[in-house]
Homo-oligomer: 188 residues x 2
């Protein structure tokens, strides 16, 4: 490759998570991250638009998987069911690296600024899911509500999975949240 160690991007992401966990997000300077990664501060900003985004590198992949799963779902499935099942592949992917997910979640939860970014990602996910639902014939309003409900179930399920035992099943936790929602809605 070049005259520098390759993989600067990955190193930056890993180092950032380490430092955010060690000293806290606000106590960590972009210069600190760059230094430990062996690059310049300027290089950090060439790979990531800001200091937060370095923790959200996988969100694009997540969204692609969700949209693809919704698009490929059988045509006779109800919207809420489609969205719920669309999180299954994501659950499998995240399940493979639970350690990392737990550490990352702790860092994010510890800082409002990072929470904001995470919420924005979730909202973007919901919008994408709604679009995917509409493209398979779901009416606009129904698609929006179903997508929001699905993403909310994902969030709640994810939190439970992170807080639970190591052998926990993310997909099951998401399904449980959705079931709770169904019970709630019919119980009114």
């Amino acid at each position: 490759m070049g005259r520098w160690e390759p993989g600067a991007r990955g190193r930056l992401a890993q180092v950032a998570l380490e430092l955010y966990a060690e000293r806290g997000y606000e106590q960590t300077t972009v210069g600190d991250i760059a230094e430990r990664a062996g690059v310049t501060e300027r290089t950090f900003f060439r790979h990531f638009p800001d200091k937060r985004e370095v923790l959200f590198d996988g969100s694009g992949t997540l969204q692609s998987m969700l949209v693809a799963a919704i698009a490929q779902a059988p045509a006779d499935r109800a919207p809420l069911e489609v969205v719920g099942e669309a999180f299954a592949p994501i659950g499998r992917l995240l399940g493979e690296t639970r350690d990392h997910a737990v550490r990352r979640a702790a860092v994010v939860a510890a800082n409002p600024s990072l929470m904001e970014r995470e919420l924005l990602k979730m909202a973007t996910l919901a919008t994408a899911a709604a679009t995917a639902l509409r493209e398979r014939g779901t009416p606009a309003v129904t698609a929006t509500v179903a997508a929001e409900a699905g993403v909310t179930a994902f969030r709640i399920g994810f939190e439970a999975w992170i807080a639970g035992p190591e052998e926990g099943d993310l997909a099951a936790d998401i399904a449980a949240a959705l079931d709770e929602l169904r019970a709630l809605a019919s119980g009114t």
Copy 2:
């Protein structure tokens, strides 16, 4: 009062909304806001923790109203119903100043950075609602899901109200979103 014009805080909030609408959020400097409001940049940061928060001054009141409404709801109401109805007073309050709400919503929607903050406020609202539900006896998981569902319905209903005609009814739009959710959940 003092040797300065009183009401600096209110002036700053008003001027900020004006400037964000005129030039856009990023094109507006805190110095610009302070100058037009007749104070110093430092004074801005004495009243608001950051450049975004100046648009969210009422969120505390909103949360108090929501929590109070949930606490005062009849004991025999189902959780989802309680949350849904708890938004009624908020709907009336916002309904009185629809113009302001529309302008503000346009500014927020135009900038991801402001969207993030808005989403954080909504999440905080949901957490508060869940706590209020728990304090009236709703089981923890049910409270969380009901609160999230209610806030989501508020968000979707609010968007519809903003996008709709001037005579629109916010409370009705929120109720419609909740109904859609109920239909969705039972239809699966």
